[in-house]
């Protein structure tokens, strides 16, 4: 079952209508669009601009400023490995290289079968239990090679 709905302008309009009354509705709308479609499609930009009475350039600028908003949907599962200092101190670099090798992709890429997107993240706030990772919205800490392998396997499943 696909995680996300295909692009549908009418559906996008409903989502935008749900949030447009908010003060500073930009981010809530972009988040909601991505939640539904897996990304912020180019087609959505003029719709958001129209609803918020802003230029397309402004919405495009906002959508492309933030690391979270995607142009294309991610793979079925998203595995984020923390690459910040605390996890570096606890062996995170080696684990990141291991994950890249296991999945056959570099950081920021998606496997060819579209199952797993591997991404760096700069801090999950689990620095007491570094190295840390996040698979979709689930967190994992105190990673070692065995635990990472298990995590990669779960992501591929």
């Amino acid at each position: 079952m696909p995680r996300h709905e295909p692009w549908d302008a009418e559906r996008a309009g409903e989502i935008i209508a749900r949030y447009r009354h908010l003060e500073g509705a930009g981010l809530p709308i972009l988040h909601a669009l991505q939640e539904t479609f897996g990304c912020v499609p180019d087609e959505a930009v003029p719709l958001v601009a129209e609803a918020l009475n802003l230029s397309r350039a402004e919405i495009h600028g906002t959508a492309t400023f933030y690391h979270d908003f995607r142009k294309q949907p991610a793979g079925r599962r998203v595995l984020k490995l923390c690459r910040a200092e605390s996890c570096q101190a606890a062996g995170g670099d080696a684990l990141a290289a291991r994950a890249e090798a296991k999945l056959g992709v570099a950081m920021g890429e998606t496997t060819l079968d579209n199952r797993v997107t591997l991404e760096p993240v700069y801090c999950l706030g689990l620095c007491h239990s570094s190295p840390a990772a996040m698979l979709d919205k689930h967190v994992f800490g105190m990673l070692d090679e065995a635990k990472l392998d298990q995590l990669v396997k779960e992501a591929q499943a």
Partner: protein, 518 residues
């Protein structure tokens, strides 16, 4: 009365399997026909003991950890529910030396109460600070916060009460309270712990701020990397509203105050206050030039109090116990307590709240227990990605805003990341520049271009490519970034870079170069 056990729902506990343990306990109780209530709390901050399971016993809460699902039968057989000894037992949790030696003010209730229950919060002294604020009125509330000496815990260390007074003195219909919960610094997790473990204390702090300055609406801007904290805060806001503690005429008073949770979108720079305001307004998170201060022209152009989670979460205890009580902890101009976060390659990773003045060495070696890899500590980075690296030679530095400034560092948000002797400090310096390049908002040139040039320079120096001359250029670049950047991202990136160069020159190929000269 049925027995009660406590298991954390804090993501620091979840990340090492607390959910599986809780589920296994439910199953074990069912199998054994035991009537036991499982209360899901926040974390005590002793993460090497998570999943920590606590049992309500006559002598207090007795702890066991780290517990795995496979340990449960043995624990129950040993009489865990009566608080009896077991090899995983740590005794009465409040008496456990690591916890007992702390001064928990901001984190008084964290790990103890049920973060989803307004009743539990009130039963543990919650909303006494608000009651006091309502009783003494806005002016006296601000005076109390000024008296406490509380300084912004986000890193800048600006006196919170002064900020509030500035906003209170503005004459506008609409003002805002904004809580900066964009805790992006590596090595920090205190904000996350409060939001997941004691969210009502933050709501109470924001409410008091609102009453004090005349603001009726607040926003909590939480980074998207914290889905558990976002959920916890959303639940707490709903509960508070249901319980009459948010909305119209809060707690039966004449004051209105409500708030909502907003999620960030993965931009580190949005932890900078003006960038955060831009982001809340739905724009690119580009830093604003100051002045005007947010206190005068803040969110949507209105006077705005923007404070860190810890600053706001400390206000309730300042109000309930009085400003002098808080002020009497600490040293010099650093008053009260600091929730210090021990991270990286460390044995006892977690949250240690203590009065200012404790030395860095005591924190790393004694409380942190040294490295998890059992190798010597070589460097610690204090204050996040923009904080300086300290060598052992500076371990006598007391944890204090001014003392750290004097040592060319900063305490920032109170995170300490420990590295053992395998660390390559040139690599860390390069990473500092690289991180700045990735996260720069792009508005000012020293940060946007300087960070990219910085990466190249470190590479050249390490490769021995005209290293002596490039070292001078790097130092010069750092000065340009420090004094020419609009905000702390570009302005403080030189701290890790220069401290690595100053204290660990041997990692930058200096030895090799010296040999070549000889």
């Amino acid at each position: 009365m049925s027995a009660r056990i406590f298991i954390s729902r804090d993501s620091g506990a979840l990340c090492v399997g607390a959910e599986e343990v809780a589920r296994a306990f439910y199953k074990a109780f069912e199998t054994r026909g035991l009537d036991v209530e499982i209360v899901r709390t926040g974390s005590r901050g002793m993460y090497w003991l998570e999943p920590l399971v606590e049992v309500a016993a006559d002598k207090g809460r007795v702890g066991y950890g780290p517990v795995k699902a496979g340990d449960i039968d043995a624990l129950l057989d040993a009489g865990m529910l009566e608080g009896k000894p077991h090899s995983l037992g740590i005794g009465v949790v409040d008496d456990y030396p690591w916890l007992e030696s702390q001064t928990r003010l901001t984190f008084k209730n964290c790990g103890i109460i049920d973060p989803r229950s307004l009743e539990d919060y009130k039963a543990h002294g919650g909303y006494r600070g608000l009651a006091k604020a309502l009783a003494v009125g806005p002016k006296a509330t601000i005076e109390e916060v000024i008296t406490s000496g509380l300084r912004g815990r986000g890193g800048a260390g600006f006196p919170t009460g002064i900020k509030w007074r500035t906003v209170a003195d503005t004459q506008t219909q609409q003002k805002y309270i904004v809580c900066n919960a964009d805790e992006g610094d590596s090595g920090t997790f205190a904000d996350r712990m409060i939001m997941e473990g004691d969210p009502f204390v933050l709501i109470e702090g924001m409410t008091i701020a609102g009453i004090a300055v005349g603001a009726t609406y607040g926003y909590i801007y939480i980074r998207s990397e914290y889905p558990d904290a976002i959920e916890a805060m959303e639940i707490a806001v709903r509960e508070a509203r249901k319980g009459g503690m948010l909305g119209r005429r809060i707690a039966g008073s004449e004051f209105d105050f409500d708030m909502e949770v907003r999620a960030g979108a993965g931009a580190y720079v949005c932890g900078e206050e003006t960038s955060l305001l831009e982001s809340l307004e739905g724009k690119r998170g580009e830093v604003r030039a100051k002045p005007p201060l947010p206190a005068h022209i803040g969110l949507f152009g209105k006077p705005t109090v923007i404070n860190n989670v810890l600053s706001l979460a400390t206000v309730p205890i300042i109000m309930s116990e009085g400003g002098p009580h808080y002020r009497d902890f600490g040293m010099g101009k650093s008053r009260g307590t600091m929730p210090i976060q021990l991270a990286g390659n460390i044995k006892h990773g977690g949250l240690y709240e203590t009065a200012f003045g404790i030395t860095l060495g005591a924190l790393v070696d004694d409380i942190g227990g040294g490295t998890r890899s059992d190798r010597p500590v070589r460097a610690v980075q204090v204050g996040g990605p923009l904080g300086a690296y300290f060598p052992r030679a500076l371990f006598d530095t007391p944890f204090d805003y001014e003392a750290f400034t004097a040592a060319d560092g900063l305490i920032g948000h109170g995170g300490i990341v420990v590295f053992d002797d395998t660390v390559d400090m040139a690599k860390q310096a390069r990473f500092a520049m690289e991180f700045c390049a990735i996260e720069s908002c792009g508005k000012c040139t020293p940060c946007r271009i300087g960070s990219a040039r910085g990466v190249e320079l470190v590479d050249k120096i390490v490769a021995g490519d005209d290293a002596a001359a490039n070292l001078i250029v790097l130092e010069d670049l750092c000065n340009t970034m420090k004094f020419g950047s609009l905000c702390a991202l570009g302005g403080f990136t030189p701290y890790p870079v220069m401290s690595a160069l100053t204290h660990f020159p041997e990692d930058f190929g200096a030895k090799k170069r010296l040999q070549a000269v000889e």
